[in-house]
């Protein structure tokens, strides 16, 4: 196993996530794309952890923290989406333009 294969896979997933964040209109799917990017980051972290044979396991630790933060982010994100939906009957991020100057 080479480190490249893991990093390339992570990069590919990250690029897809980026594409998704830009193109998706639905707020939930935007969040999902962000999750994809975070998963890609985790792949990088864990594979470098294995590659470096880190005694402190920094990669795995950071991956765990990322997962925890992602969970928090999604919890809040979904709550906001539901809130918006209840008040506006839409989950389309482009429709939320009241704060525009």
């Amino acid at each position: 196993m080479t480190i490249i294969q893991f990093v390339l896979l992570g990069t590919a997933l990250f690029s897809m996530g980026l594409y998704g964040v830009i193109t998706r209109k639905n707020a939930v799917l935007v969040l999902a794309s962000v999750e994809l990017m975070l998963a890609a980051v985790n792949i990088n972290l864990v594979s470098f952890d294995a590659y470096l044979a880190d005694q402190l396991h920094a990669g795995q630790m950071l991956a765990l923290f990322v997962i925890a933060l992602a969970a928090a982010e999604v919890g809040i994100g979904i709550a906001i989406v539901l809130m918006i939906y209840r008040n506006r009957q839409t989950a389309d991020v482009d429709a939320l333009s009241e704060m525009k100057g």
Binding site: Y85, R86, N87, Q89
Partner: protein, 394 residues
Amino acid sequence: MTSREMMHRSESAVSIELQTPDMTLNIGPQHPSTHGVLRLVAKVDGERIREVEPVIGYMHRGYEKLAEVRTYAQITALVNRIDWVSGFASEVPFILGVEKLMGVEAPERAQWIRLILSELARISSHLVFISSYPLELGATTPLMHSLREREYILELIEEVTGGRFHPNFNRVGGVKSAYGGGSTTKKQSMDLPAGFFKRTSEAMDRMDKICDDIDTLVTGNELIKMRTVGVGIIPPDKALEFGLSGPNLRASGVAYDLRKSDSYLTYDQVEFDVVSRPGGDCYDRYLVRLHEVRESVKIIRQAIDMIPSGPLQAKVPRVLKAPKGHVYSRAENPKGEFGYYIVSEGGKMPYRLKIRSTSFSNLTILPWILKGQLIPDLVAIMGSLDFVLGDVDR
């Protein structure tokens, strides 16, 4: 921004209550908790019911029209199919009305037999409720226990009348006898089967026992209380306004029982209490029915002691023709006040027969009581009203 959006925003500024789009949920016509073919068109927000529109009529058989082309004797065979869970009890008020109209009085023994069978029908009907109501709340075991005991009651009814559900046992001027409608004192009429009273009092002992069993299994069950206490409260004024009667009304604190207040048959000669509870919630409606079983057992025990011997049939003409007139006859059925308004124009058939069926009136409260409830409470409340669709649709 369009005006619609503006409106929406102003609304949301007033109330930030979470809401998701209302979903129209069709409960029924075929649904386990509708006891047959009742349909509820419910607008629900999540589990919360915004409003509900009951749709009935899937079993409408047009009894009121049919009765206009049938003789009084034929209608007797028809009416026990209205509330089939207590078939005998739906016959009684009709036959009493016809007897009143024709000026016939049934012999004392026939009255007592009617009383015993009415009370047996009441126990049977309440046992159906006691079995099915916990089932609706998810408890399966009370069903088997109380339905098994109900079999003893149905056997007794069958032994006397020949039918488990549709006895068709009442005749104008008495009850069925060996020689059909034209029985006289001269001919020995068919009496109750030998040993009937002994078996009945044995069955009554069983009923006492099953009431105790149900008490331990259901009445004291914490989860049953959690599901029913304080759920679906019907205040007395609403109950009266919607014409609720029977146990549903008595559970709301109105001790209205026709057996006491407008006594018929020989109910004035037996001792019993009118069961009523103050709460008006589902648990009270359940408790009233359970206690009424005990009261009925009491009544039947007394009746067995007090029943006189004698003929079962009074003398009646071969051709039953009622005089011109209006009569409203009602009785306390297991489910509540059951009445027949008979308009006679002097023929052998009624000119108009209005059937005041209990479940129909009891169900009119559904849209009011179900508004704002949760779907699980819908099941609990509907079950606690104890309706039979044949009784609703007629």
